[in-house]
Subunit: 383 residues, 2 copies
Amino acid sequence: MLPTKKRIGILGGGQLGKMLIEASRPWNINNTILEADLNCPAALVADKVILGNLYDADKIREIASEVDVLTYEIEHVNTDVLLALEAEGLEIIPSPRILQIIQDKGLQKQFFEKNSIPSAQFKLVAKNDEFVACMHHFTGEKVVLKFRTGGYDGKGVLIVKKEDLIQGKVIIDQPCLIEQYHENIVEYAVIVARGKDGESVSFPSIEMYFNPITNLVEFLFSPTRMDEKLDQECRKIAMAAIEAFNGPGLFAVELFVDQGGEVLVNEIAPRPHNSGHHTIEGCYTSQFEQLNRILLGFPLGSTQLIQPAAMLNLVGPENFTGEYVLTNTEDLLAMEGVYIHLYNKNVIKPNRKMGHITILAETLDEVFLKAEKVRKWLTFKSV
Amino acid sequence: MLPTKKRIGILGGGQLGKMLIEASRPWNINNTILEADLNCPAALVADKVILGNLYDADKIREIASEVDVLTYEIEHVNTDVLLALEAEGLEIIPSPRILQIIQDKGLQKQFFEKNSIPSAQFKLVAKNDEFVACMHHFTGEKVVLKFRTGGYDGKGVLIVKKEDLIQGKVIIDQPCLIEQYHENIVEYAVIVARGKDGESVSFPSIEMYFNPITNLVEFLFSPTRMDEKLDQECRKIAMAAIEAFNGPGLFAVELFVDQGGEVLVNEIAPRPHNSGHHTIEGCYTSQFEQLNRILLGFPLGSTQLIQPAAMLNLVGPENFTGEYVLTNTEDLLAMEGVYIHLYNKNVIKPNRKMGHITILAETLDEVFLKAEKVRKWLTFKSV
């Protein structure tokens, strides 16, 4: 029922928190964030910022005492205190029980295995000599090596030659996960939302567009170019994975589809995700509004795409750190269906996510043409 | 060029200011408002609120000193100090020179006449005995009587019988405008945006849907049911009216079309307008983003409708004042393409605008069906 006086607390004050708060503005929701950096993206829009570390139990208890429901926009938080708070009756979405599984990629893989969620073959290893013992489980020359905890935005993930592991050329000093490497996979993602009443919906699948020359991801788009049957299979598997967690929240399910059309779950994020940013303009309900609905106990919104959409990240280039401007933004702003989102980060750093661009058009081909232009025009310049 | 450090100042802190600020959030614009009421809608989202009356020259000078460009979300402000500030070099959009004309409906009518903008026949009157002298200018039994200044949301506008005026049954104590009354007109509106470079664009026309039984406006929608030629004529006349003002800004042009298909300009608002709220979800660029673009010197955005859209106002009913909730909001939130905007007003009063609903669908017929449901379901209840 609206208006509501329900207050939302968010652990973390990054761009996901910022966009979550922006999406709540038409409903005038009170938002408090816990974040160590007062210059964080979400501070601009939050009603209150509590300064503190996301592993500081006292600070988490402080924000918990001021809100009616708590969520997080990053996995790297103190789960122990969240489990205690949940036991004491605080509503935390998604449940820290789910977060605990997702935080440890080893537990996550075991969870998939136990719940028959298709995922790449894996072995958990803690010491170097365990590599050799498990290598016969994997086919091909390469395997994927992942740190079980602490990875973020592709950090903590390596593709390595089995031979190099066997010969001791790669040394690990923390619990890892070895995964079967799949050649020529296509990457998809599906955002799944589950309400407090147990109802679940999936957003249309997202495909990653790789530059055929550099083989780097240039943008994400939706709808995908998959055939209808495979698309449905992806959404079905993503929904099944979230069903297995059996709790409310908004989740991003990263998927691989191999050349034979087999769908594998890669990883799950228990929060809004970079692969869902296009939903702000592209879908009837954005991933951020959807999470607000879940937090507030409102019905889930329609996830339908209104138009084909693409999303490009604005990522700090290798060559500089400091104050910056984006060049050619006026050309972009003059294009129909092009939306610039900046994350309010004063300083650019290599690989830092500074913002994103959403592109809408009536057809996917038009979306690609616009995205190609945007990608060529946009550059960062130091000031 | 983005990011920009340009600061925007807004005179007034109502819902128009709130939505203007919300639209600037992806660009992280700093917004300061001047408003007498700290509990105003825009205070929730503004970076800074200066408490003060909109006729207080000192307070207007205070906000002016803290921003790079100044706008207003209500016409009832001190124009003298704005003219002085503009002369001193402050950028004020739209220019107070334009506001001065619009503030006085008499000057506005004379401006239309001088610039050959079609508009209903009129006479300016100050005293009661002037009525009789001008009555022969008007045909039919009724005329429209408007206060020249101070009207808002339909206040200060009366439809009266000529005979009652002649016989002294209606007494006026302030300068008024008598206008020809037109029977069976259809009301349209066109939002026109003009950039600093002199480029102008119009949004698709908006039609008002009247309940055939009660004859009250139930919702506004776009595209209209006008034939293409008449629609183009409306947009052309609206553009011509704004061209005549010859300055940047976002303007709402209210139009009448009579039974013979003649288009008349009724009134112009030099700010975002109730008849453009559907553009938030319905158009590539909303009226609020468009005004931000103008204020920041960015290119104008595409005004194309993405889907047919309707907008219903949530207006306080006659029967109560106080704290309130909206009933059946959960049913509305479950409908695809239905968006609830609340204006953060704690107390409901008769006829107070509390919020609005936007409705999108693939066809206008579907929009009407949904709007009909929304209108029936939504009610205010005291708490």
